[in-house]
Amino acid sequence: MSFSRRDFLKGAVVGAAGTALTGGVLIGGAHADASSTDTAPAAHDAYPFHGPYQSGILTPGPADKQNYSTFAAYDIVEGTTKNNVIDLMKTLTQRARFLAAGGTPPDLGVSQPPSDSDILGPQVPADGLTVTLGIGSSLFDDRFGLTAQKPEKLTLMKAFPNDSPDPAWLHGDLSLQLCANHPDTIHHTIRDIAKHTRGIIQPRWKIEGYNSPPRPTGTSRNLLGFKDGTANPTGTEAQSLVWVDDPAEPAWAQGGSYQVIRIIRMLVEFWDRVSINEQETMFGRRRDSGAPLDGNNEFDTPNYKADPHGNVIPLDAHIRLANPRTPQTENQRIIRRSYNYDLGVDTNGNIQAGHIFVAYQQDIQRQFETIQSRLINEPLIDYVQPFGGGYFYALPGVTDTDDWYARRLLT
């Protein structure tokens, strides 16, 4: 059952739906928003590999992202030539193209080890796999003669004042985002890619992520218990914020997107000892429903103009700092496509778990860095430790079977 606040106000909703809604009270200051959907994210068996843009960014979009993922960074090993890199990109394209469509792995006969691991059975299903390849600023150093082709805004991820950077978890020549409907598909994919590329690239770091189902409805929750991604722009608004189309950027880079990955530990034991009032004040939202503190439903739009002193939603609340919702800050918004992660325990017996923050935008400095700078020293920093990740440039799409990753950069 799906209905919108607007329909309710027009009196269009009757019966059981109307009864459910009459329990809610509009708090002054909140505006009714576009329809909120109660349906779970739609899972697809397959997403297109070819196109002007890579899949895994808006195809599917954050609200429908696949439930399992891995994020991995790789280094190109010493001694690799530019021609080797071209071969690498062609190999990665072939593997991603095959695995994203699914199919029958070739039978190499009895004279070799098998071509496939059979993790997914003898017929490889696509299982909703998207492969999203990014390149780091280090690729544009003096190794391959690509310095003049670097995207304008691509740098190494800087350390923000509240970060706890761990070199073992940071940066890389390449980033690989794999998303799929089941975790064995993720494993199968990264294992296959490694088998075909061992001699040229070696892993730097890798972390698996999962997406929780709606609990009970709406946007999925992060491991602090809050719905995460409610205010993500959608539709054409999202496209206008994500895809690089600035003529100042190199021609080969058009249709790409800047990718920010931040691996953020959440101190969940500490968090669970904090009062609900304090938690909600730090975020600016109700934890149970996800509604902004001046609203009633998750997708209500906060009205900061009506609350200039932050009496309802504090001035240093996370959502208010991240998106002040003024005309000036509109084009600073990002698309977040994040996942939860769980590693083991730390040396004190506390759970090592948290957030793989993933953001896409057309300008890291105008968008992500502006937002993250506003968040410096926000109250939430006591409970989170960003320690890994990096800045990467998600390549433009592979347009057809003659095209391959980064062809226009490398030729």
Binding site: D75, V77, E78, G79, V110, S111, Q112, P113, K195, R198, G199, I200, I201, Q202
Partner: protein, 207 residues
């Protein structure tokens, strides 16, 4: 260490010398009392003692025992127990470096010396020898495979030598991340090629 490297070059892999080989080269993992177990003997026992401050008095009996055990291996080398089935030779070609990756480069057999790269280099040398012995058979089936493997062994050896400092092997922990990745890439690539070889030799050339 030169004794350890000589042992590597003998091509003892996959338990090829049986219990007698274990007396020479066994590891403490799996023994009830670990490093203090009376059955932890041989080259790694000496390595452990040297890197954990044990005295000459403590270690000389271990050395004497090692000499005796090596002599046993030598004496029994031509028996079926040790030399094994000749048809295992094709398997040996890729196993030597698979063992190097699994046991040396992983650090799992390090008892203090940290000589994983030196040991792996010795393993690459003996791999060349065994490859030479099966080359005629491989060439009759896939003519390009031996040249490919040979070139990849060259790449591996160059990568291993690049971990040295001033011409000396370093402790594995002292080697830079980039140099480590270069070795991992090179051994990965040659193992992929070597993996073709055992199955290949199961079938006649005209299959």
């Amino acid at each position: 260490m030169s004794a350890q490297l000589d042992w590597e070059r003998v091509g003892a892999s996959y338990d090829s010398f049986g219990d007698e080989g274990l007396a020479v080269d066994g590891l403490p993992a799996g023994l009830p009392n670990g490093v203090n177990d009376k059955d932890f003997t041989g080259l790694h026992r000496i390595e452990y003692g040297l890197y954990h401050g044990q005295s000459a008095a403590q270690l000389l009996p271990v050395v004497d025992r090692l000499s005796a055990d090596v002599a046993t291996v030598q004496k029994d080398l031509t028996t079926d127990d040790e030399a094994g089935d000749a048809t295992n030779l094709p398997l040996r070609v890729h196993e030597i470096l698979e063992d190097a990756l699994r046991d040396h480069l992983s650090g799992i057999d390090n008892q203090g010396a940290g000589m994983a790269y030196a040991e792996t280099y010795a393993d690459s040398q003996v791999t060349r020898v065994v490859l030479g012995e099966v080359a005629p058979l491989v060439n009759a089936r896939i003519p390009t495979l031996v040249p490919t493997i040979t070139a990849q062994l060259d790449t591996l050896q160059a990568a291993l030598l690049a971990t040295q400092s001033d011409g000396h092997w370093q402790q594995a922990a002292a080697v830079s991340w980039a140099a480590r990745q270069r070795v991992d890439a090179a051994i990965g690539a040659v193992l992929e090629s070597l993996s073709i070889e055992p199955d290949l030799l199961e079938v006649p050339p005209t299959h």
